[in-house]
Amino acid sequence: MHRCGSPVPSSLRPAPSHGGGVSETTFPRPNPRTLADDGDTLRFCSTCAFSQACLDEGMDKRALMDLHVLVQHVGPLQPGTHLFREGDPFEAIAAVRAGTVKTYVVDPDGREHVLGFHLPGEVIGLNGIDGDTYPCNAIAIDTVMLCRFSFPKIAVLATRVPGIQKHLFRLLSRDIGRAALLAGDWSADQRLAAFLVGLSRRLAARGFSATRFALTMPRTDIANYLRLAPETVSRVLRRLQQEGVLAVDRREVELQDRARLEALAAPVLRG
């Protein structure tokens, strides 16, 4: 969050290590580094989706008072709360600060299609940029906190700060890439491995443990997203568990043989 050479304020130092060798936080447990740190006029929230873009531009938060005023902290939102629905007028994008947001559409037959899961530090609503309305629904899966950015204002800011524009494009392309990820003709094992490796990387990037995390979404949502039957998701996980690749306890997953999982996921993640 801070430029090289600047002293690290105490609240951003790694939390003191506990006796049990606990050094990383298991998502979604609150982490003083990743959740409680709300930032202030001088510091970004630790999960801020934009801080890196600004810092890349050589701007710290002091130089970004404009951005500060257009950011609105929202939440906590209870599980099941809709952030927006398909057809709502597009006014803002939002960055997840805590929790998990699911985006989905409902087809003419009334069947739900899960588009994605958005974790802390990730941005939702980007696919609304194209039109005047949101093309999908967004719902809080667990307790969610957001930063809401008025889109017209951030668009103006982007013209003044090229880094923000670049970052928006980067986020957009990442969003598209992720959606394309599952279009291929992959096996259930490959899909699930890619899903877990993807989650692990995204959580690690936000300071959570890369090897232990909770699947906050129900298995029906995972299955829907991966285009598998819920029973298949469980069957594959059970087999991977028997093979020592991972361990599952209720919602919590521990990746025990990452290399094996990465190898399984490689063709999907490359595609």
Partner: protein, 464 residues
Amino acid sequence: MIATALPDADLLRRYDRPGPRYTSYPTAPQFHSGFGEQALRDAVAASNGDPIPRRLSLYVHVPFCASPCFYCGCNRIITRDKARAEAYLARLYREIDLVAALFDRDREVVQLHFGGGTPNFLDPAQLREVVDTLRAQFHFSARSDLDLSIELDPRFVTPADVAELGAAGFNRASLGVQDFDPEVQAAVNRIQSVEETAAVVEACRAAGMRSVNIDLIYGLPHQTLEGFGATLARVIDIRPDRLAVYGYAHLPELFRPQKQIDAAHLPGPELRLALLQLAIDRLTAAGYVYIGMDHFALPDDELARAQERGGLHRNFMGYTTHADSDLVGLGVSAISHIGDTFSQNPRDLPTWEHALDDGRLPVMRGMRLDEDDQLRADLIQALMCQAEIPVRALERRYAIDFPQYFADALARLQPLVDDGLVTVAPGVIRATSRGRLLLRNIAMCFDRYLNAPHDAPVRFSRAV
């Protein structure tokens, strides 16, 4: 296998104080009426959403008894009117309809247990009908380790009945004996001969049941070392695979039938301890292994083997080899444990019946466990099953610093350490062979509710 040495009498006397039996943590007195039907539905939905949803254990409560045993602290109704069974089953099937529909079809049932009351108040055809109804509504495991068990009162079941139960799929039975001493039997209103008991055990084996358990109770009125010694000798002759030796808890204010027992005839603390000592000595000499919390098993029984490999678990039905499953309680007063919740059906028949007649899930009370509850439940489960607390594993799993988080509990534990009941090493806290009979005293140190001064006092049975 872990040897069991009885702590000296003086020590046992000091630790002989009331405490929960920890078939659950938190214990039932913490359940509250704010937890209702919707909360249970939400809990089941959430459990279906686990990446690998847990398997299911089913419990069916049959509340009726033909004759009142005076020591009983269970929820039961005394009647000889067999018509009540039919009326009860009609409601039970409604409940099964309502409850089974909540679970995803791939939730595999690995355990079904009938308790009571007296499950064999239902005749074998009725019991088979219940099993078949459950089989039609739930997905029963095809695996060979499916447990289908029933508590039997040997006075009201014939060898022919037992054969029918075996044919219906029952593969485990638990028989109440308590004591064969005639004077004790008269005082507790349960006259039961050695012969009829042995005949039922024999019938269970002939029916192919893979495990038979016998329950004994020490601390009953008029019990003597001679009489209980004779009972132990006869039970050892019958050689059940498993044995439970419970301490009688005289709480007549809580359990009305116990008012029939004259407290003047109860053995004093010295004799209670001597009776327990006698049971441990005789059973271990006869080759039984102490499993923990009143339970013994032959060394080749699955329970003893599971304990050796660390695969022992404990739920409301006692010890089991099945890893954490969600428990679905059916029938009046039955308790469920779904995901991170406990819930209980109404304890009285009319309330349970009315809920079902209205098409509602009959939930009387329950609770959702917070993270602290879950941590302590894990800890107590490990203690009850493995006689040790895996400190490192708990620290890792719950992201705590154990000595700091449990500073109060460790302070309460110190006298037990000083008395040689527990050893505290870095990474693990272990009950010594002396401490294994006092697991609940060790667990009580870690019970948040027991040690919270603001809570109303709750009555529990004595530790020994």
